[in-house]
Symmetry: C2
Subunit: 387 residues, 2 copies
């Protein structure tokens, strides 16, 4: 059986990197991943990026990064699926290696929000929703999330502080991650006093846009260099589902259909049930998305995702740790790099090198990257292989 191994991982600190160019951010993560792999030489580069054509006036990132990172000549391409771009790039790399057409693939996610400020960021982000029917009406990504959160609170009679569990856990975990944007635990009082961003979403219900780059090297198990000494982590399954792009087209907007389908498909491919999952890196760009993702995946019943978090069932010591290294909320949301950060973090967990964030004895990690309100959902299941 051909297994696709995560042979190298690298990442930059997530934050505001005003003084570092996009290409240099990517280089830092790539260099770390190549070194980590024992010096594997990538034949193909898959770049996960969401907004560089608008934020950084730069498309054609594949060749730009291959060249800039000392890999001139290799196959290179950009993969885009809004906030799920990193996950989508990981899937393209997985397919390339799994198929045997490529022996060693490099997947890098990179985003540079600080190349724009203010309205420049807003109009860039607006391109990821339905421009002709939603963005043009002024509906922002945060506005979409606010509509969903209000609807959820109404349907399920959720109190004002019902979502506090998500950012509380995220920040508690982020405190232990040296690459997280926010490394401070917060208290429930802080959540209660937080300023509104888009009612009912307060400052702690929305993940911060951030700069960052993360990279993984993929190869097949027979191709690892002799000096490779990390515990083996493979991609046990990969799946993508889509929903409507426009939120107004959904019959059941709280259903997060694509989030559900992608998890089901991935579990089926990996041949495991949900009970085998040891931790879940969900896409908590908004607290409401974390709640809906828990429900869509099947970890919580509809309307109970917030209770699941509020009762502590997602903490590092629980049966289903989530956002183990801070998630989007505390590690930060580096756009199209996010899905690759999830993969790097999950690989760290499975290798047992997650430090203060370590989930004890983890074997299966579920990671899910979302584009828009689960318009695109990309899922991978990572598995620690037997020694």
């Amino acid at each position: 059986m051909t297994e696709v191994i995560i042979a190298g991982i690298g990442q930059t600190e997530v934050g505001e990197h005003w003084g570092i160019a996009l290409r240099d951010l990517a280089y830092a993560a790539i260099k770390e991943a190549v070194t980590d792999s024992g010096g594997l030489k990538p034949q193909a580069l898959f770049v996960g990026n969401m907004l560089a054509p608008n934020l950084s006036n730069q498309a054609h990132l594949g060749v730009l990064l291959a060249d800039h990172c000392g890999m001139r000549g290799i196959e290179a391409v950009t993969v885009e699926a809004a906030g799920a771009s990193g996950g989508a790039a990981l899937r393209q790399g997985y397919m390339a290696v799994k198929s045997g057409l490529v022996d060693v693939a490099l997947v890098v996610g990179v985003e540079k929000f600080t190349d724009q400020v203010g309205a420049g960021v807003d109009s860039a982000v607006a391109t990821t929703s339905d421009s002709d029917f939603e963005a043009v009406q002024g509906l922002t990504a945060t506005g979409q999330a606010a509509l969903l959160m209000r609807r959820y609170m109404h349907e399920y009679n959720v109190p004002t502080d019902g979502f506090a569990g998500f950012p509380l856990i995220a920040h508690a975990n982020g405190a232990g991650n040296p690459n997280a944007m926010f490394r401070k635990a917060i208290k429930r009082e802080a959540y209660l006093k937080a300023e509104m961003v888009s009612d009912p979403i307060n400052m702690f219900d929305a993940a911060p846009n951030a700069d960052g780059a993360a990279a993984v090297i993929l190869t097949r198990n027979g191709l690892l260099p002799k000096e490779f000494s990390h515990p083996l982590v493979k991609i046990a399954a990969s799946a993508v589902s889509t929903d409507t792009l426009a939120l107004h087209d959904r019959h059941a907007p709280l259903g997060f259909w694509a989030a559900r389908e992608s998890v089901e498909a991935a579990c089926h491919k990996a041949g495991i049930g949900l009970e085998k999952i040891d931790f879940f890196e969900y896409h908590d760009s908004y607290s409401i998305y974390a709640a809906l993702s828990l429900e869509a995946a099947g970890f919580a019943k509809p309307g109970q995702g917030w209770l699941y978090a509020d009762s502590g069932s997602i903490s590092l010591k629980s049966s289903l740790p989530c956002a183990t290294m801070g998630g989007l909320k505390a590690r930060g949301f580096p756009g199209g790099a996010t899905g690759v950060y999830q993969a790097v973090e999950a690989a760290m967990q499975l290798r047992g090198v997650a430090g203060l964030c370590q989930v004890a004895g983890a074997r299966f990690g579920l990671i899910q990257a979302l584009g828009g309100p689960a318009s695109t959902a990309v899922v991978h299941i990572l598995e620690k292989m037997d020694a």
Copy 2:
């Protein structure tokens, strides 16, 4: 042996579609391709697009088009490599089907230049070159081509009308293609009198930006529907190479290294030599690129590509017909759709349904999509299978 078959093809007329939205252009091509395939149901959609985030304020095209075209739920993603985006999307679809991870893949290329006018187009196109080191200096895509053409004329002592062969053939062929933007043959006198765009590039040396969409359906040979009655066309090889993004970084700028490497790799994979190639769809966004592509591929010696064209060696009745349905110059340059148009046109040639543009008895077609000055080069070899 698993063969990846081009089971369905579709395209829209190339031109200025002021009144048709990007999603509707894509729909027209997709509908035609699905019908042509005998009703195959795609499981995955790969969108080749170059500039929609800037031209059309629309990213996240995968889910947008999957939803809009009646395929809600399927895997969907955008693939970008500047002008080579369509070729790059075709390669992702090929890998997905070849690997067995996807049974039926839909590849659509789409671009809508008329969503912007004037400077909006220029600044969008500028994102495909090195923003920090070339675009910021005012070097446009046409400026890059002009530098290369002037250098070529200097090195090889080429007369002012030396490149006329390329647009003359392109327009002669375009006259027979009902989907071409320009369907009129031109005379040498017209070339000689043409206005300068960026000296020495005149109006006929530069392909027109245009709107358009083209689609192909890929599957494996065992999965074709019973009612499928077209001659079988397979993808015999797929290869990608890259060079520097910035032209100023090249030691030998007339070498088009990636264009050469990608053709060599593809021929090697297909197990054939150049002499087997029956026609060549090169990326003639500029006449000089056509000349350099002929030389890089090995059909002409360095400095003789223009003579090759000028002597009529690329006409429909020659041994190496090029731009058989008009190429970028006469069919038009619909950005990220271009590489998929090439695939559709090559499939038509190999099926024997290219009408007035038909190349007699063609078995192997070489198609090459370029991003920038061969910064990215994506090559596919299509082969007509034995009945």
